[in-house]
């Protein structure tokens, strides 16, 4: 069994809310030691809930959203308004391989922790700076909020019902999540480059650019043919049937797609070869495309009589692409995900348990990753300042009293 891929990597984590924490959580799952810098002055939990009353647990950092995005990390408290805290960070940098942050443009500069300054302290440092619109350019000072990014990048224009309006992407924080993925890849590529050359670098990850690099099709349509596409809903540009159909029960659906004549024959068989499938309106891919409104209603007459898992199983057995449209509670208990070890449980020091989804990291020899409970606020102060940086207990206590380690 090999060690986890990033076992020798340390990350100083100045990220909050969604995009940044999701990025650093990936690194933590891959074995990196991620030191999350928090402060008692402004616990991240408060930023994540929006309004009071959504705090479901009395203990800070037990808020649901925090647990989804911050497992496997370590937490220290540092009051960055205090110059002594900044000095501590500067000493800590010598141990650090990657600095990650998603504050507003300029915050790290004000602390004397710009890339140029960090590079002086550690020449091969990799700094990953994530923002809504980029750290350079005319919008570097704009704030980032996922639906606004969806609007800006054109993604919202394409999302939604054809007969309806543009819509931000569900679930919440989608644009953040996309940027987090590309950010992780950029960090890993930078680490590879460093391993070959000894050089670090500065990564400016932009949510708008990530979302565009992720969803280029409409933009390509405009560039190549000067056309703006309409929304397609669950339909496809060429495949039919290709849609989502009502099943038995409240808000229960199954998605079905057929891409060729063989799969169409499978669908007919699964439906029990009803008379209507023999109509020449549905005899080939082009005719099925043209008559898909009628075809969809006819297919729904079959699906509406069945539970969505049942419909999925019957269709899959006949070689048809079909999937139950899983509700959140169904996904959370999905037997396939459970067998694959994707539904995990953490235990806090006080024995409270919390369940979450794992990260999609699955290597045959290195295993499924490092999973430790989401950290309590400042849980690793003694480890980081004492063990890692060699400070004495008295020093740490004194700095806690002075509200430096706070």
């Amino acid at each position: 069994m090999q060690k986890l891929p990033l076992s020798n990597i340390k990350v100083l984590d100045f990220t909050q809310v969604r995009m940044g924490p999701q990025l650093t959580q990936w690194l933590a799952v891959m074995g990196a030691e991620v030191i999350k810098v928090e402060t008692k002055l402004r616990p991240e939990s408060f930023k994540m809930v929006g309004i009071p009353g959504k705090l479901t647990a009395p203990i800070l950092n037990r808020v649901g959203y925090f647990a989804s995005l911050n497992y496997s990390k370590k937490s220290v408290t540092l009051n960055m308004k205090n110059p002594k805290a900044i000095e501590l960070v500067k000493k800590l940098i010598t141990h650090i391989d990657i600095v990650a942050e998603n504050y507003s443009t300029g915050v790290l500069d004000r602390w004397g922790l710009s890339y140029a300054e960090l590079k002086e302290m550690k020449h091969d440092i990799i700094v990953c700076s994530a923002s809504g619109f980029g750290r350079t350019g005319p919008m570097k000072d704009e704030l980032a909020y996922a639906p606004v990014i969806d609007g800006f990048s054109g993604y919202a224009f394409d999302n939604g019902y054809p007969e309806g309006e543009p819509a931000e992407a569900g679930a919440r924080g989608f644009a953040d999540s996309i940027a987090a993925h590309y950010g992780v890849f950029a960090v890993l590529a930078a680490l590879y480059y460093r391993s070959k050359t000894g050089k670090g670098q500065y990564l400016d990850v932009s949510m708008t650019e990530s979302e565009l690099a992720f969803a280029p099709e409409s933009v390509l349509e405009y560039i190549i043919n000067g056309r703006v596409r309409g929304r397609k809903g669950n339909r496809d540009v060429a495949m039919a049937p290709h849609n989502c159909y009502r099943c038995k029960g409240s808000d229960t659906w199954v998605a079905i797609a057929v891409s060729n004549d063989e799969e169409w024959a499978g669908l007919c068989k699964a439906l029990g070869n009803p008379e209507w499938v023999k109509d020449s309106k549905f005899s080939d891919t082009l005719r099925r495309w043209e008559n898909q409104n009628e075809m969809d209603s006819l297919i729904e007459n079959w699906t509406i009589e069945r539970d969505h898992y049942e419909a999925m199983r019957i269709l899959q057995a006949a070689g048809v692409m079909a999937g139950a449209s899983l509700k959140i509670e169904e996904l959370s208990e999905d037997p396939h995900l459970r067998e694959r070890g994707f539904l995990i449980e953490f235990e806090y020091p006080d024995k409270t348990k919390v369940r979450r989804l794992a990260s999609p990291f699955n290597l045959s020899d290195s295993g499924k990753g490092n999973y430790t409970h989401p950290p309590e606020l400042g849980e690793h102060n003694n480890y980081v300042f004492g063990e890692l940086m060699g400070m004495s207990d008295e020093e740490i206590r004194r700095l806690e009293q002075e509200r430096v380690i706070y």
Binding site: S206, I328, L331, L357
Partner: protein, 404 residues
């Protein structure tokens, strides 16, 4: 050593349509030497997808293929033949990484399953991107982008605020082929992680990427709500505790975030109307509880202004806002010009074409288009003759016998 992050990394790609090719593109654009193997004669399905200039189908001019296959060398090979399998095994010995997106049964049929490849090259990283992964009760299921989006609950949670009637508005796939693209970037992340394990002296291993799992991470908060408090996510708009950030203006739409901290500025933007001075609207809880009274007023105000006016005034007040851009507005937007986001490439058949560029600015190793997307079989000579040592005559025979 050039300034390319992944210079020296050798990647073999047998990628069809989007997910594996996207993974290959991310590696190739940062300097990895990516050889893309396409099925002899017909090539990657993305060549048949478009968009095509003037809607004239041409397998060398498909926009999706061009975008996804920059910086790769392209060869053709027929894996259904014994000679093809032997050539493939030679390529496997050359590679550090192999990326593919066949279903597990199809991979075994073609002889590109992990066990077979590991025996040939034990230090090879094999990345398999599938809809449901290599193991588990659904691993034999047939899938596509639509299915992966619905089976990860991402479709159930989309769109967040437009479901007026759950009976009539079904769970909705995301635009384009978002599931497949996410499979690709997740594949790239996990491939890099396996490479580090390889660099640390480890052997090769199998990277098992499930698109269902990749997408499920998008709904991690909703799943958390269920695990923590048994909350069953309801799709209809009335069940959302936050409200839609989208507003219809006179001539278009905007997205605007109005948390309590920004409420004062929004009121100013609307000209400090009397109704906004209501004492119950002046606290976070009060505003939230009375939102059904407040929101219609905002909606009314928005309808009286153009999207451009609202965006301008809101930005001046440092309110989070954007016009909902169409693709046209995106391509002509000043920000992307200033950031140099779009890249111009020159392609032998497609001519000069502009493509979306990179997700990130790298200070030392920026992605560059060193070579345009390959024509079908363009590098057969480079790879089979110069790299593997076949003679030009061999190559002709291989072509004549449909091996390549």
């Amino acid at each position: 050593m050039s300034d390319e992050a992944l210079c020296g990394l050798k990647v073999l790609e047998y990628g069809e349509f989007i997910s594996a090719p996207h993974c290959g593109k991310l590696l190739a654009d940062l300097g990895a030497d990516v050889i893309k193997v396409e099925q002899a004669g017909i090539g990657d399905g993305a060549r048949r997808f478009g968009p095509f200039p003037q809607d004239i189908p041409d397998s060398e001019k498909s926009g999706l293929f061009l975008f996804l296959n920059t910086n790769k060398r392209g060869v053709t090979l027929n894996l259904d033949t014994e000679a093809g399998k032997i050539i493939f095994q030679q390529l496997i010995r050359w590679a550090d990484v192999f990326v593919e997106n066949q279903s597990p049964p199809d991979a075994r049929k073609l002889g590109i399953d992990y066990k077979t490849l590991h025996d040939i090259n034990p230090s090879l990283v094999v990345t398999s991107i599938t809809y449901f992964g290599q193991t588990g009760p659904y691993s034999g299921f047939k899938g596509c982008d639509l299915i992966s989006l619905h089976m990860s609950s991402e479709a159930f949670a989309n769109p967040a605020y437009e479901v007026y009637d759950p009976e009539k508005n079904p769970p909705l796939k995301l635009p384009g082929h978002s599931g497949d693209f996410l499979g690709g970037v997740t594949g790239a992340i996990c491939t890099m992680s396996a490479i580090f394990a390889q660099l640390a002296g480890g052997m090769g291993q199998h990277v098992d990427v499930s698109q269902q799992e990749a997408l499920a991470t998008m709904v991690c908060h909703e799943v958390g709500d269920y695990y923590d408090a048994g909350i069953q996510y309801l799709r209809d708009r009335k069940s959302r505790w936050e409200d839609s950030p989208k507003y219809a203006c006179k001539d278009g739409y905007i997205m605007m975030n109005i948390p309590f901290q920004m409420w004062g500025r929004v009121v100013e933007m609307m000209g400090n109307p009397e109704w906004a001075k209501n004492p119950s609207f002046q606290t976070p809880i009060g505003l939230h509880e009375n939102w059904s009274k407040v929101q219609p007023k905002i909606i009314e105000w928005m309808k009286e202004h153009t999207a451009a006016e609202v965006e301008k005034e809101a930005r001046e007040k440092r309110i989070d806002v954007s016009i909902v851009h169409s693709a046209k507005e995106v391509v002509t937007n000043e920000l992307f010009k200033a950031r140099g986001f779009f890249v111009d490439i020159e392609h032998q058949m497609a001519g000069k074409i502009k493509l979306p560029g990179a997700y990130c600015k790298f200070s030392t190793t920026p992605p560059v288009v060193r070579r345009p997307p390959p024509l079908l079989g363009e590098h057969n000579f480079d790879v089979y003759c110069q790299l593997l040592g076949y003679t030009a005559e061999n190559l002709v025979k291989l072509k004549q016998t449909r091996i390549i």
